[in-house]
């Protein structure tokens, strides 16, 4: 952020916080955002209810953002407010600026939470959330709390609605993407045909996180501190989130720890079932794990396309494209039997 952007942010915060003055004491970009930027921001606020020093995160689109299915910052802020009010452990949403003229992009500020999110570290380093039974159960409880939010119980009105089943809705989206891609992908076609033939009908459509996985929550040495990255939230089948969390492609190499590489599937499901009061059909979760691999492969193709079209090519995007064969290999194994 340059000086004029920092001044604009200070002015905005002072007004939003009904303070006499707000100063940015420190501001640095955090690693990890291919689609969004997160800026660790220390504010000094004079006057009003927020008086004092405050650590926040400013979140805005990255200058090269390109995955077109994620929400904008105003929508993400509204989602954060909704789930925060519902009791989900998330960073407290503070102020939204939906005027892009201030810093060139819309942004919002949320309270900073402590800990780490990196999946590669978390699956190996037991100093973070050392009680992994407790962590897996807690994540199950958090997910069930998200899934208690429905169209009828929330004021969220910007998420896409559709008449088809959630599975068929995703199948249609994935096929549309493959049709737009310059190359054909027979393995993904094979997987999508399998998903089509086995698509479950469901009466239960809830808010889903859409990217609930290790890497998108934060833990410290005590345990969970917050669920992050709500830009893919949608109305959908709650089993989609469970399948995504448990899918082998999101275990960061710890394949035997089926709950996101950090714990046992049984502990995670126990937490979920206890909180939701619903029994989970394991065979349906298996279906959604196939869907998870297909969805990740489609996203990886999108990232590879971003690399090809980028002015400043990112090695991370390029390598993501090279994950497709591994995902396809797993898909072929998962769909081996009819």
């Amino acid at each position: 952020m340059n000086n004029s952007q920092r001044l604009a942010i200070e002015k905005f915060v002072a007004k939003a916080a009904s303070a006499q003055k707000a100063l940015i004491v420190n501001m640095k970009i955090l690693n990890g955002g291919a689609v969004q930027e997160n800026w660790l921001t220390t504010l000094s606020i004079e006057g009003g209810q927020w008086e004092g020093t405050m650590e926040c995160v400013l979140r805005c689109d990255s200058e090269t953002a390109g995955v077109n299915i994620s929400h904008g910052r105003p929508e993400e802020f509204e989602l954060l407010r909704t789930v925060f009010a519902a009791g989900v452990t998330v960073p407290e949403p503070l102020w939204l600026c939906d005027d892009s003229s201030l810093i060139g992009r819309k942004f919002f500020l949320m309270r900073c939470i402590k800990g780490i999110a990196s999946g590669h570290i978390l699956v190996k380093d037991m100093t973070y959330a050392p009680d992994r039974v407790q962590l897996a159960e807690r994540l199950g409880v958090e997910l069930a709390t998200i899934h208690a939010i429905t169209r009828h119980t929330s004021r969220i009105d910007f998420l896409e609605t559709y008449d088809d089943s959630p599975a068929n809705h995703l199948i249609r989206q994935h096929r549309a993407y493959l049709d737009s891609h310059p190359q054909d992908h027979p393995v993904l076609e094979w997987a999508i045909r399998w998903l089509e033939r086995h698509a479950p009908q469901t009466d239960l459509v809830t808010l889903i996180h859409g990217d609930f996985r290790t890497g998108n929550y934060m833990v410290d040495d005590q345990g969970l501190t917050g669920i992050l990255d709500w830009e893919f939230a949608a109305w959908g089948d709650p089993l989609q989130d469970i399948g995504w969390f448990c899918a082998k492609c999101w275990r960061f190499g710890k394949v035997k720890s089926e709950a996101g590489g950090i714990g046992s599937r049984a502990d995670f499901i126990n937490g979920y079932e206890r909180q939701s009061g619903r029994k989970i059909d394991k065979s349906l979760v298996a279906y959604w794990e196939v869907m998870a691999h297909v969805r990740w492969a489609v996203i990886a193709l999108e990232q590879a396309e971003r690399f090809r079209g980028a002015e400043a090519p990112s090695l991370l995007l390029a390598l993501t494209g090279h994950m497709v064969p591994e995902l396809e290999w797993e898909i072929l194994k998962l769909t081996e039997n009819n």
Partner: protein
């Protein structure tokens, strides 16, 4: 004829140097970037070493699967995708086993370049 060592050998040596001289002393965040760079170099090296062999294997398997000796890989993939989407390779259909075997072969080949460790696990 190009001077030796080959491009693949140069890439392998570069990767080896990064590992031996920089990886152990790099900060945690730089280690991630170094590993990404080494991974990219290894993929490029494997692609160079395989040359045209993998394309030939894929094309041959495609032609046998679709019983068409003149198909290019691109045209074959397009035809295969269409057949699969139309259900012509579903379980119980005549093409099912041949298509499945072909997809496995092709994916194994692609994986041998992008991430061969997966094939060992």
């Amino acid at each position: 004829m190009r001077p030796l060592p080959s491009t693949a050998d140069l890439l392998q040596s570069t990767s080896h140097m990064l590992k031996e001289h920089f990886l152990s002393t790099a900060s945690a965040s730089d280690r991630i970037l170094l590993r990404m760079a080494m991974n990219a170099i290894s993929i490029a090296e494997r692609q160079l070493r395989s040359g045209e062999t993998h394309d030939s294997q894929q094309a041959e398997s495609m032609r046998q699967t679709l019983s068409n000796p003149l198909l290019s890989i691109n045209d074959g993939n397009q035809e295969l995708a269409r057949l699969i989407r139309e259900g012509k390779a579903d379980h119980g259909e005549a093409l099912h086993q041949a298509v499945k075997d072909h997809l496995k072969l092709v994916t194994r080949i692609r994986l041998s370049e992008s991430n061969p460790k997966v094939l060992d696990s």
